[in-house]
Every structure is written in C-alpha cells, then in structure tokens.
C-alpha cells in the first residue's frame, strides 16, 4: 500500500461514506436511541428505559403483524425463488437473447405503487378483468384483496410478479460463472438436463442463491408499498404487515415515534439474525468451484 495515495483514496470513498453515514448509520443510531424514549411526532420526549419493548411483547397487534409478515415472506420468497431459478436456468440453457432478458426485467421497472394500483384494478371483485374471466369460466368470483384468506397470497403474488425477472437475472449472472465444459462433460457421461441441473447447476449456484436469498428475504420482510396502496393493512388487520404497522403507529395512530422506533429495532434484530443464519446455512461465502 502506498500511503501517498491515501488522499486520493479518501476522496473516492468520501461520497459513499458520507451517504452511508448520513442516510444509514446516523438514522439507525438515532432510531435505536429513540426506541428508549417516549418521543412523539410533536414532542422530543425523555428516556423511558425498556418501556417500549415491554409494550411490544404485550401488543397483540404487533405480534399478529409479525405472524402476517412471516407468512408473507414464506409465500413471497418460496414462490419467487423457485420461479426465478426455473426462468434463469431456461434463459441459461435455451436462449441468450437480450430481448427476452429485457422483457423479463420490465415488471421490475414498474414502481411498486403503480404495480399495486394495476393489480388493484385487475383483481377488483366487481369490475376487475381477472374476475370477469373467472366469471365467464363459470367459477365463483374471488375477493383477492378483500378476503382475509386471500389478501396475503395476493400481495405476495403481486410482488413475485414484479421481482421475478430481477431475481432471475441475479441467478442468471451466477449461472454464467459455471464453466460450459462441465456441462459438456456431463453430456459425455450421458447425464440428462434434469440430472445436470441437480448435480451440477444447483451445487455450483449455491453461493449465488445464498446471496440472492439474503437480499430478497430482507426486502420481503420490509414489504410496505403494496400494502399501503392496495389494502392499508385490511381487511381487519389481515395484511397489517410489520412495516405498515410501524408507519401507522408513527404517523397516524398515535404519532408515537418511540414505540415505532422500538418495533423498527426489533425488525432490525430479526433481519440481522435471519441474514446471519442464511449466510451460515448456505455457506454463501465459499465456492465449490475452487
């Protein structure tokens, strides 16, 4: 390392680190501090110790919103990862077309809010296109956003639709690191596509899948826009996911920033734990290719 390069290095690092400090580090520390206070939207508040955390574990709505969020993450990530893997492998093995790759990514270019509005219209019970089709087929209309049983699967599906292409591309990038000669060797040995997928693709893709999972799971836990636009947590709290509940507490229910911060910290802890666990389980930092 040449020390005379240090000033230049710092100059290059500065934009990112200032951004990191201002928009990530400081809010996080500040949020953690606020979680130990009774700060409201209008008042600075004082330290109250663990009161907000005690309240959290006694708050049925909070516990329920955690359950709802977990259910959402399971559905969202489960469906999304399987489909994205299939799409990525198809792209890898069948076509290298840039046009198709571009098309796959289009839903991701639509903002979450617009996607939610779009599906709100498409899936409307009375006036939606999808229910018109269901009706024509002689089946019973479905309350996609209006029924407590369907609302979370519906929101999960909307977000799978939006993120599928993006996730598939991430996996596809991982697939491209697998050398072609391995598949050639596989074919020489008479392995079918399915066997090669199981014996070659999956094991060699593990570190990439691991990282993709960590990133998508974190994003999935933080689902907010779709809920805010399409259901506002309803019907009867059936889609009251954790981020939406935090927002409600801070900005419309009780303006209670202290309690909202405590819940945010709880989410942070859970996400950190889940990420570390995933990292360990998928051994995302090691590669079998070496």
């Amino acid at each position: 390392m040449e020390w005379r390069n240090l000033p230049t290095a710092l100059l290059f690092i500065a934009p990112a680190s200032i951004g990191y400090a201002v928009f990530l580090l400081w809010p996080t520390l500040r949020g953690i501090y606020l979680s130990f206070t009774d700060t409201t939207a209008f008042n600075a508040g004082e330290l109250v110790g663990l009161e907000n955390y005690q309240r959290m574990f006694a708050d049925g709505v909070f516990l329920d919103s955690f359950r709802v969020t977990l259910y959402y993450v399971l559905l969202n990530i489960g469906l999304q990862t399987v489909l994205a893997l299939v799409v990525a492998v198809l792209m890898h093995r069948l076509t290298q077309s840039l046009v198709i790759r571009g098309l796959l990514l289009t839903p991701y270019l639509v903002s979450n809010v617009v996607a939610a509005m779009l599906f709100l219209m498409l899936l409307d019970y009375q006036l939606g296109f999808v229910n018109a089709v269901i009706d024509t087929l002689g089946l019973d209309r479905l309350m996609f956003f209006g029924s407590q049983d369907l609302v979370i699967p519906t929101i999960a599906f909307v977000n799978v639709w939006r993120h599928l292409g993006y996730t598939a591309l991430l996996i596809f990038a991982g697939l491209q690191t697998i050398p072609d000669n391995l598949y050639e060797a596989g074919r020489m040995d008479g392995a079918s596509e399915l066997t090669m997928f199981r014996r070659l693709t999956l094991p060699l893709l593990r570190p990439y899948l691991g990282l993709v999972l960590i990133v998508t799971v974190i994003g999935s836990f933080q689902v907010f826009d779709t809920v805010s636009v399409a259901t506002q947590g309803g019907p009867a709290n059936a889609s009251n996911v954790i981020q939406y509940y935090i927002y409600e507490v801070a900005f419309s229910r009780s303006y209670d920033f202290g309690y909202a911060s405590a819940m945010s910290v709880a989410l942070l802890v859970v996400l950190a734990a889940v990420s570390i666990l995933q990292f360990r389980l998928t051994r995302a930092n090691t590669n079998d290719m070496a």
């Binding site: 928009f23 990530l24 400081w26 809010p27 996080t28 500040r30 949020g31 606020l34 700060t39 409201t40 939207a41 209008f42 008042n43 600075a44 903002s111 979450n112 709100l120 409307d124 019970y125 009375q126 006036l127 309350m143 956003f145 209006g146 029924s147 407590q148 977000n159 993120h163 990133v215 998508t216 974190i218 994003g219 999935s220 933080q222 689902v223 907010f224 826009d225 506002q232 309803g234 019907p235 009867a236 709290n237 981020q243 935090i246 927002y247 409600e248 801070a250 900005f251 419309s252 229910r253 009780s254 303006y255 920033f257 909202a260 911060s261 945010s264």
Partner: protein, 448 residues
C-alpha cells in the same frame, strides 16, 4: 425489493428529521405579506376556494394564496409530516375527528385572542358549528367553513321499477329488530340474478344482480358512511359527553343490535358483503349494481355527474323515537402554529369565514357554507342546477336530530381499534357483542 428498502430508509430519515425539527413553534411574522399556502382534501372544492383566493388578493394585494389539494389519506400524513418537519401549510382545512390531538400538542393556534382583537362576529355561523372547535382545554382552533350531513342517494329508475315512490322512501321508518319499512324498501330494491326481488318468494340471496343498499368500505368509529343514520335515531350517543368525552358507549345493547342489523343485511342478500366493492357508494351506484347508498352532502355533485344514471336523495329513515338522525359535521380552517406568516394566515382565515368568501363558495353549489345566509344561497344554487338537496337539511327540522361525530383525544388509536372491530363483525369473524370488549379497551386508552 430495493424500492421497499428505500422506503424504509426514507421513513427512518423522516423519523430523524422529526426528532431534530420538533419543538419549533412559530413566532409569527410582523406584517401580513407574502404568499401563504392553503391545503384542502376535496378536489371538488378547489375552484370555489380559488375564487375566494382571487377575491382575497384583490382586497389584500400584498398577500397571495397558493392552494394545494391532496386526497384524504395522504392529506393527514402530509399535514402531520408538515408539523414535524416545519414545512406544512400556513392554513389548512381541519377535521373534527383530527384536530384535538393537534390542538393539545400545540400544532394549531388558538384563535381566541385574534377573534377578540379584531372583534370578529362568530355569531354569524349556524348554530352548533363553532362550539365543537373549542379545544379540550378551551381555546378556539378553527373557523367554521362548511357543514355536511349524510343521506341516501338512490337510482331513480330502479326505485320506479320496484314500484316505490320517493314519498314512500321519505316516509320510511326503521327499528333495529326488523328494519321497519326501510328494510322492506331495501328488499324490494334488491334483485337476484333470476330477476326475483328480495321481498318475493324464491329470492336467492347468494346470487345478486342489484343490491338494494350499498356498503361503503369505510369502517370508522363515527359510522358516518355506514350506520350513523340508523344509530342516530336511537336514544344513544357515541360518548357520555361530546366533545372531549372519555367514555364510549359501544357496549350499549341497542347500539350493538343496530350494528348487527346493519352488517347482517349482507347475509340477507340486500347489501354487498364486505370486500365486494372496494370503492364507495358513488362508484357502486354508478356501476348499476347498487340501487341506493349512504353518502355525504359533499358528494352531491359527483352523484349528479354519474353518466346515464339519474340520482335522487332521501334522508335517513325515522326511528322509533320519531326522529331522523344524521351526523352534523362542521369543517373549519386552522392555522399551523409553525407558520412564519401568522398574520397573513389569520387574514386569510378571517376571509374564508366571511360572507364574502362563503357567498362565492355557495355559487359553486358544492358544499353548504357555515353562514346561514350563504348556505341559503348554496341551496338556491343547487335548486337552480335542478338538484333537490332538502334531504340534507331535513335533519335540522325541529323533530329530527343532528349530532356531532365523536370528538376525543387519541382519535387515531380509537379509530384503529374501532375499525378492526367493526370490520371483523362485518366479515363474520366476531359478534356485535365483541364491541363491549373493544369499548373497554378504548375507554382504558382515553382514561390515560
């Protein structure tokens, strides 16, 4: 999912800014000059208040008014964020169910001193419109601007097809056990997919072509858009004293019976189940799948504008007490305590609450101004446009009843609790008697 991450970040940034920016109450500008911002939530009213703003600037050339409009949900988020970040409007349209918290937290200013200083005559407002704007600890936090009541909008062609006259609908009575003649009318207006009406043998409540009564997806402690026209005929009120009561009466058996009756209409096939319609009765009636539905006087113009559907307006039915009932909701203008143009803001608020502005608003025939002489003009303007709005005024007649929406502190939390409880009843997850427990929860909250 990067987008949601950004949202989360934005959220935490707001939280931080919030913590930094709070506590800064405005000191008030010296002179009444400059541009002030005025926020409202009803897009229909923008032209009317733009007319006021133009007239105001003509009279006060040194002050201009910039009007901004946001939909109801976004509106309160933006107002709150404005208080917190110090970037809110100078003057904004305030709501009875919201202002208590703002007043208590010192976010809107007490107008008493200014009213006294400028000898503003507050007796010009219709009776009962100013009183609810007196805060929990005294002080006046809003200048009345217009009022609304709710009634039943109906598709006149469907009423005729069912062989029901408008007089019959006006004369309808109601009780919580069998719904009275009002429920009969709703039944007759309901048609199943085989063309059988709700009062005829062979009616299939599981397959409906036209619902007799619509259901607004607004589950609120006020019941304004759902059941308030019914509970309003009972010997019942939301609170032991309104405004600023601390004891809700959701445990009252007759109230719970009414709630059960109201949401039970869906089981009979007379009303759509919760979730069938995601939009309010305006869209429901517009779709031709609903014959009649509750809405507020503010929506009159939107109903008249429905394409190909002629809409009439009837008041809520007469209850066992012999009276009709409706929420009598007054909207007012409040001044943001954080505004640095307090004097200019006050001049504008004074103008908004004067006959000069209210007459201009009346001409547009959109809402009923709070000054009787102006609301008479609005009535005339509605009549000139061929719209009979007498249903909304019927509650003000001697035998009938108007009442305030429940005004308490902690309104956001109360609303969230009541909303979930009511929705659970409508969805069939809970019995109306579950409101007793929710009532205890709410009262415990208000007792703090």
């Amino acid at each position: 999912m990067r987008k949601s991450l950004k949202t989360a970040l934005a959220g935490s940034v707001v939280l931080v800014l919030a913590a930094c920016g709070s506590g800064g109450s405005g000191t008030g500008g010296d002179s009444a000059t400059g541009e002030i911002s005025y926020w409202l939530w009803d897009s229909n009213q923008v032209p009317a208040y733009q007319a006021c703003a133009t007239a105001f600037t003509e009279a006060n050339p040194e002050i201009t008014v910039k009007i901004e409009q946001f939909g109801w949900e976004d509106y309160w988020t933006k107002v709150t964020a404005g208080f917190v970040g110090g970037s809110g409007p100078d003057v904004f349209v305030d709501h009875l169910s919201k202002y208590g918290e703002f007043a208590q937290q010192g976010q809107v200013i007490d107008l008493d001193e200014l009213i006294e200083r400028d000898s503003v005559d507050t007796s010009v407002y219709a009776e009962g419109l100013l009183d609810p704007w007196v805060g929990p600890e005294g002080g006046t936090y809003g200048m009345p601007k217009d009022f609304d009541t709710t009634a039943f909008f109906y598709n006149t062609a469907m009423l005729e097809e069912a062989g029901i006259t408008a007089e019959e609908l006006w004369a309808a009575d109601w009780n919580p056990s069998d719904g009275g003649t009002f429920e009969d009318i709703v039944a007759r207006l309901t048609v199943d997919t085989n063309g059988v009406r709700g009062n005829e043998p062979g009616f299939d409540p599981s397959s409906i072509a036209v619902y007799g009564l619509g259901l607004n997806p607004h589950y609120e402690e006020t019941g304004q858009m759902q059941w308030a026209n019914f509970t309003g005929t009972l010997d019942w009120d939301y609170l032991e004293s309104n405004p600023w009561g601390t004891q809700y009466n959701l445990d009252d058996p007759e109230f719970q019976e009414t709630i059960g009756w109201f949401y039970g209409l869906a089981d009979k096939g007379y009303a759509p189940a919760s979730g069938v319609f995601s939009e309010e009765t305006l869209t429901q009636i517009g779709s031709g799948q609903v014959a009649m539905g509750t809405n507020g006087s503010w929506a009159t113009n939107s109903f008249q504008a429905l394409d190909g559907i002629d809409v009439g307006i009837a008041p809520g039915p007469v209850g066992e007490s012999g009276a009709r009932g409706s929420i009598y909701n007054g909207v007012a203008d409040s001044i943001n305590a954080g505004s640095d143009k307090q004097d200019a803001a006050w001049e504008w608020v004074k103008f908004l609450g004067s006959t000069d502005c209210q007459d201009l608003v009346a001409e547009q025939a959109i809402v009923f101004p709070s000054i009787p002489s102006s609301s008479d003009k609005a009535l005339a303007a509605f009549e000139a446009a061929g719209v009979d709005v007498s249903a909304f005024f019927s509650y003000l007649e001697d035998d009938n009843r108007t009442f305030l929406p429940p005004i308490t502190l902690q309104a956001g939390e109360v609303n969230a609790l009541a909303k979930t409880a009511l929705e659970n009843i409508a969805l069939g997850n809970a019995d109306p008697s579950s409101l007793t427990q929710v009532n205890e929860q709410i009262n415990a909250l208000l007792a703090d």
